[in-house]
Symmetry: C2
Subunit: 345 residues, 2 copies
């Protein structure tokens, strides 16, 4: 007998929409393979306000953006009231990143867990600033806090170590994890200046209006901190990651690297050291023999150094919005179908 | 409270020994992280015979190869009696591959499941010849049939799709999965003839005395069939894989490829087609821009094409025996700690 879950979407931008499309595409398979039925009972965005409808909203109407708020909407005073009105079983938190504090996403996720819903996010802020706390709140309420889509879209990184690599110790990693800078560097290789390549990336929707988080290496540093915290159990703050951006690079220097048989990449790395951990983000000229030299455009790659596998690399090519949305879907399936192994410990 | 499991090793060569060393290395972590205690209650090899000791054998004595059979041994008439005498909870089946029938490994694994033990193997034969049957026997007895170490050592391939990529559809794959041929081709690139490179690989213990299974592409074809069967749900027999070996290649031709900026690799591939599946193993001259060109020595790599991730690659560098043993250990943890999600369907 399938169980029906009430899903709430906090934030309904590209990722939220792609998630809803993927939920529709996989609707039959979710039912037949995992016994999961779902309905969207809550959507909250700046434009639409706080919509809650325990009977379920029409996904097609949501995707068309034509929800008529007054007819469906309760306007609660905050997230807890909204989750209650929507009778939420799962919250998908997709608000934007605040890498200094992780708020307000942390509060949203905590509210979801305390309400008794699983808390799933594509937002790195809560991971680096509240992983331990939110995991404990989740455990206390018998729910899950999951965040697979925060690094390399929905490629299984956290779930790979959690579910398929028990007892493997990660001693370090090295990767290209920020696609905005990778696209900008690609444009510079093709002949553009930094400023022109950045502007083109902004026009293409790859870089944001305020590009600082990407080009100064903050986004990458937050990912490094999240990986170090969850996979290496080392409480590293993004501010502790040695961080160099790509703002100072010139088209000439990037093209000179290519002429010398190398490619300039924004490399993320961390390794265990006597002092704890050494973590760094910065542009590096990598040789063509290096797997990272093959990371084009919005692709990404990471190599893990472990006590069992000397070097294990995951390489993702040309992801679409579906790849990020998939991480949220996989987290949803994990949350409702699988016991939290860590609860037994 | 930790639970203690009785482990039986059928075959105790390099992989079995590496498994025992890894079990010892991870003993404390198994207890503290997963509540698992273990003892070896059965070992069977041609040299030692059928040893069963429900009180547990001394791992150090086993590793030194100094078990004195008469003092410890029951000599049962067959595998079921041996498993009974050893009170087996888990069988690790590590006998050698028969790629035409999968026997006698299939019978060993079936006997284990019918005895009520989990059946774990690094042997590809039972997967391609009896995956469906053994999975059903396992389900009937509430036990698991697991085989992560059959492809790319213990790198999570089957478990990645099973546990972290629910509902992802694999439409094809392409990889370098046979290390013996890769080592031989490397020797040819370095100046040797095929015959000399093969002989050196035999001396180094990388190639077997009878090298046909590797150099004629059978080992690779069995892996392709296993991946197609389990991940693409297509019942492909090794004999149905279009198969070309490397026996006919000359050192000159392999070095000519290098001179032309390419590398000769034994490529495994499969893709869904209108007729079902197109699967092939054969030497290919890959460009240096291809990830497969970077597969050196005993390393391996595979790219999966899926409906969610356009291309997702796993790359394993320089695995040791520990990497293969790890797949068996991970399967053991999965078998005893996690419910079979497929049983709910």
């Amino acid at each position: 007998v399938p169980r029906t879950f009430n899903l709430c979407l906090l934030g309904f931008g590209n990722v939220g929409r792609a998630l809803l499309e993927l939920l529709l595409e996989k609707r039959d398979a979710l039912r037949s393979e995992h016994g999961i039925e779902w309905r969207i009972t809550g959507v909250a965005t700046r434009r639409m306000g706080w919509i809650a409808s325990p009977a379920g909203l029409d996904p097609k109407v949501l995707l068309e953006g034509s929800v008529s708020p007054p007819s469906l909407c309760a306007r609660p005073a905050g997230v807890p009231e909204w989750l209650r009105a929507a009778q939420a079983d799962v919250l998908f938190e997709n608000t934007s990143l605040d890498f200094e504090t992780g708020e307000p996403a942390i509060s949203h996720l905590r509210a979801a867990l305390e309400h008794g819903a699983h808390a799933i996010t594509a937002n790195k802020g809560p991971v680096v600033h509240a992983y331990k706390e939110l995991s404990e709140v989740a455990r206390r309420h018998g729910r899950r806090f999951l965040f697979e889509s925060t690094v390399m879209d929905g490629v299984p990184i956290f779930s790979m170590f959690r579910d398929t690599l028990p007892l493997v110790e990660v001693t370090g990693f090295r990767g290209v994890l920020n696609s905005t800078t990778n696209v900008i560097l690609g444009g510079m290789e093709a002949g553009k200046s930094f400023a022109d390549s950045l502007r083109d990336a902004q026009v293409a929707g790859v870089a944001e209006t305020d590009p600082a988080a990407d080009i100064d290496g903050w986004d990458a540093a937050v990912k490094v901190a999240a990986l170090a915290l969850v996979l290496m159990k080392y409480p590293l703050k993004p501010q502790q990651v040695e961080r160099h951006g790509i703002r100072h690079l010139t088209g000439e220097s990037v093209r000179a690297a290519v002429a010398a048989g190398r490619r300039c990449k924004l490399v993320c790395e961390a390794e265990r050291s006597a002092a704890g951990i050494r973590a760094r983000v910065g542009p590096e000229e990598v040789s063509l023999a290096d797997a990272l030299a093959r990371v084009e455009g919005t692709s990404s790659a990471i190599t893990f150094y472990t006590d069992v596998f000397p070097a294990l690399t995951l390489f993702e090519e040309n992801p679409g919005p579906k790849a990020t949305a998939y991480g949220l879907l996989a987290d949803f399936i994990t949350a409702v179908c699988r016991a939290d192994d860590s609860m037994a410990r």
